[in-house]
Symmetry: D2
Amino acid sequence: MITILKPGTTEERRNQLTRWFESQGLQVHAAIGPEQTVLGLIGDTSGIDAEMLRLLDIVESVSEISDPFKSANRKFHPEDTIVDVCGAKCGGGNFAVIAGPCSVENPAQIKEVATRVKASGATMLRGGAFKPRTSPYDFQGMRAEGIELLLEAKRETGLPIVTEIMNANHLPLFEEVDVIQVGARNMQNFELLKELGKTDKTILLKRGLANTLKELLMSAEYIMAEGNENIILCERGIRTFETYTRNTLDLSAIPVLHNLTHLPVVVDPSHGTGHANLVETMAMAAAAAGADGIMIEVHNDPAKALCDGPQSLTPDQFHRLMAKVSKVREAVTCD
Amino acid sequence: MITILKPGTTEERRNQLTRWFESQGLQVHAAIGPEQTVLGLIGDTSGIDAEMLRLLDIVESVSEISDPFKSANRKFHPEDTIVDVCGAKCGGGNFAVIAGPCSVENPAQIKEVATRVKASGATMLRGGAFKPRTSPYDFQGMRAEGIELLLEAKRETGLPIVTEIMNANHLPLFEEVDVIQVGARNMQNFELLKELGKTDKTILLKRGLANTLKELLMSAEYIMAEGNENIILCERGIRTFETYTRNTLDLSAIPVLHNLTHLPVVVDPSHGTGHANLVETMAMAAAAAGADGIMIEVHNDPAKALCDGPQSLTPDQFHRLMAKVSKVREAVTCD
Amino acid sequence: MITILKPGTTEERRNQLTRWFESQGLQVHAAIGPEQTVLGLIGDTSGIDAEMLRLLDIVESVSEISDPFKSANRKFHPEDTIVDVCGAKCGGGNFAVIAGPCSVENPAQIKEVATRVKASGATMLRGGAFKPRTSPYDFQGMRAEGIELLLEAKRETGLPIVTEIMNANHLPLFEEVDVIQVGARNMQNFELLKELGKTDKTILLKRGLANTLKELLMSAEYIMAEGNENIILCERGIRTFETYTRNTLDLSAIPVLHNLTHLPVVVDPSHGTGHANLVETMAMAAAAAGADGIMIEVHNDPAKALCDGPQSLTPDQFHRLMAKVSKVREAVTCD
Amino acid sequence: MITILKPGTTEERRNQLTRWFESQGLQVHAAIGPEQTVLGLIGDTSGIDAEMLRLLDIVESVSEISDPFKSANRKFHPEDTIVDVCGAKCGGGNFAVIAGPCSVENPAQIKEVATRVKASGATMLRGGAFKPRTSPYDFQGMRAEGIELLLEAKRETGLPIVTEIMNANHLPLFEEVDVIQVGARNMQNFELLKELGKTDKTILLKRGLANTLKELLMSAEYIMAEGNENIILCERGIRTFETYTRNTLDLSAIPVLHNLTHLPVVVDPSHGTGHANLVETMAMAAAAAGADGIMIEVHNDPAKALCDGPQSLTPDQFHRLMAKVSKVREAVTCD
């Protein structure tokens, strides 16, 4: 880490900062020039908060030679992580297809959707039991009962299940869940991340609506720092000024994350666009950009399902999407 | 609530939607024209999720005659809410001054700061015990011990205390805390909000980094829907493209919120700007804009305190700020 | 157009507004209820500024049944527009490949790049002569001389040329230019758009850094309203909070624009990402999302070219990209 | 300027970059360590584009010791610039009050408004003749005739006039105009800025909707680099995700700009909020934050004026605002 001091910094202030660095166990190499002073810090700087340092009134700039994320960093773990969920793999050339309804509604619905998406090639079943809603007056999901219905659908189809957690206290209910999803609004719920880090579940971590990729990786780091390295990152659209789409799907996140981390990256074009008629196209684009999987909302009767309607595909539309996505994957993976 | 259907919507689809509205207990008045159809919904529409409705493929637009927030709505509660924290009032003409360090560090620090800010006119003491940090490797606060030190400072100075919660499981530790703060990153941690709604503590709810004022009010609504109406809203800056400031303090939030809600609104210029040399000016501007209080970081030795340094004032600077803010308040409140 | 008035609007105010609408040549159908009043406007509402109307204190909401863009609207022109630039087509299944250096630097450079990109399959040559730079102290381009060099390269290779205009006064210099580019910062330079609308040149219109797709279409409308319908829209990344990429390429713009307009849409992954190592991947994703073309920066010596370096490809890299993009196009266009 | 190279940069690449710096007339001091290399650049670095440099694949980071703006920089010009417009001063303790209608509509309107705002203490008259509108079908202003009417109002009241330019070709029409406004959408219309730099008019430069303060200062620099130093900067709100206000007024821009530049800073709360009922409060806040002036839309019949209505004050409301703002100014400037 390199800290450049502002011109005019007094010797006293510089020494004060130097002593503070030393008290943190770092060696400080100072290059003191007439115009400016550069402090090179040698040792384990992972405990230094560069953001805070940068805000000190005597500091001109801070360069972090090393990224603040360690466990997620590809530099220290060059091979792709392959997450294996009961045989359904994601990463390292394995493409995961996670499909299912926005919300679990009743036994017939979830079973039919599960059967249909499996037949079309889905490798995991998704379905919301606990639903994060902006309004306390909106439907909050079937909760524990929803998880039960997902498990039944799993027993019937063999598909591993993915569902969202909103509260670490609910963890006992997730004992048989295969993949625990952390939603966009909880991406920086650090206490929840820590608790998930103590489990051995696969965690599907969604990017927050206005968060950077570095912040996403730091949140993955919270889970990994507690010992759980089974993480799938998920790009699901960010908030921008555009209004035709619900969010703006950032597909460049895929190659950028592949450069920075060994963790697999899936894309959710359903939430990322908010419109059923954009899902197929954006799923194809995600595959072309090298995604390790896609997450698609499918409902057996989108017209009836108020919650899922606008962005859910019918099973037939999903079947067609799978064929198209396969063609794109063939085109981009063959050599 | 008014729903306008797209041109070309079939009768079948329109009837389907109409029946669904009716199944939700609403009366539907349809004005069917050659070009478009307008459905007027009469009854309690609070259970209808307008956002979802808007996304249906047959829906052109939705007008919410009534705001989605009820308990927080000034329309149903025209008088200002005055929150009373052990005698320190906020709202309805009462100006709260919440001051103290970013983090509680040790007994001497918190006591000295508490004594100094009280002498300058602060009405509550703030101090972080649980710290939300982007990196798991950064200092996470003194946690339970920090709360103990705040309580000691309270016993000594009489100042009620304000400190942040990050996990509903920690609530037992907050039993003697006067005001529980919900940080920006947890503004939409709906499970936490629900739990706080079951307490009778005053909740200081900070606006999220990329959240709208409507979303802030919906989060307040989560707390109020559970029965707790002791809420102070806090504007603390939003994420924009500007880089000279850490966030962009949105002072128009003050008059807008005063129009929409009866809850008091305080402003945090320390986090809102990230620079000590901007805090006094923005505190004065907040007072001029009619804020019901300010929240200021004060540290007895900002130069030493890496965490607080860049945006913390010294007790002397805080004293000066108080004099300036008082003058502005006199100018705007006299008539 | 539907205007819903706020509850409590006086009859006098309502009549005032009604008379104003009538003075604009519209018929007003009022549905006056106890709770609210709906004014239906019949006639040519293209002269009504809905945004302004919405801000009136008596107006609850405004629904624009018809989009504010007319000439660009697919509803009135269902077939894809195919822009033909000296035989190089864009739109309606024709894929344009616009390649070349960021800036024209000297005769040898532009000729070599032109020859190389043509050999790899580019259909047009790009090169900046007038360069919009944030700082007045940065290189502003070779200007008139740069256009001369582009025309020489065109004579040699037969590739039509694309270059940016910054000032309507420069139009005489663009007489032989085939495609005139309007840069992101000039997307709402309405006076320039009007002048370009009076020419018969093909205009490549880039989306502004923080502009919506509707605003982009309204800018196209400025050109078309003057009579010039030869327009290619270009997505080149928008400003977001992400810092790993220079901008965030919004690929969902492709299917959204294809729904809204008949004009062709090309994608610029070079500016859209700012990093050479992301260009190939995002070009493939753009092709998968149905783009009508791509715009790629290519330099014969990126390492030397300070301006182009970071995001320019070498001719060899461009050749490889062309092969990859072709495979993706085959996969998505075959049926 | 300090350039830090990435670990693993080859000697060849480093030498190549070093030679390039030298060819730009700079001395390069290299500190080559085992982990990284720091290049210190000495000399006039104003010609170096740090943004481009930062994007080079071998560059880790770039620190600009010196700001890229020179003429506008307070470091080289510590005293406040006082702009004098026919005796109406702005900056250095002088508070400008620029008031008038959004658009000039007819002789009676502009004269009445001018007379009324002068009586309440306005120091300059504003009024739009050329109107930048998102849609080509919306009213584009009275153009040349509008300027004539402004000049008449000036003759009658003695108030200097402020009006917007959209095209450098229109400059002859602005010969008698006192202050030429550059609107938000033209902030980076560099060709226009250059032309204005060649005049001796006072330029009121508005911040773009998604532009940083550094970009605003670079645009001022474009004008100053041509010799015109009579510039007033204007904060008029930036685009954010908030929807209750039309834009988000960034009042922290005032103290930040005062730190960075000697140029005066005025605030436009009318466009900055888009709602008449927020203008007074935000004008008071702007005064408290140290603004050198305010710009307020006033119309003699806001209810009739569709364009001005929502954000315009009546002359009476403006009179009241002036009294309130004066009180705030007294409170903050007395010492």
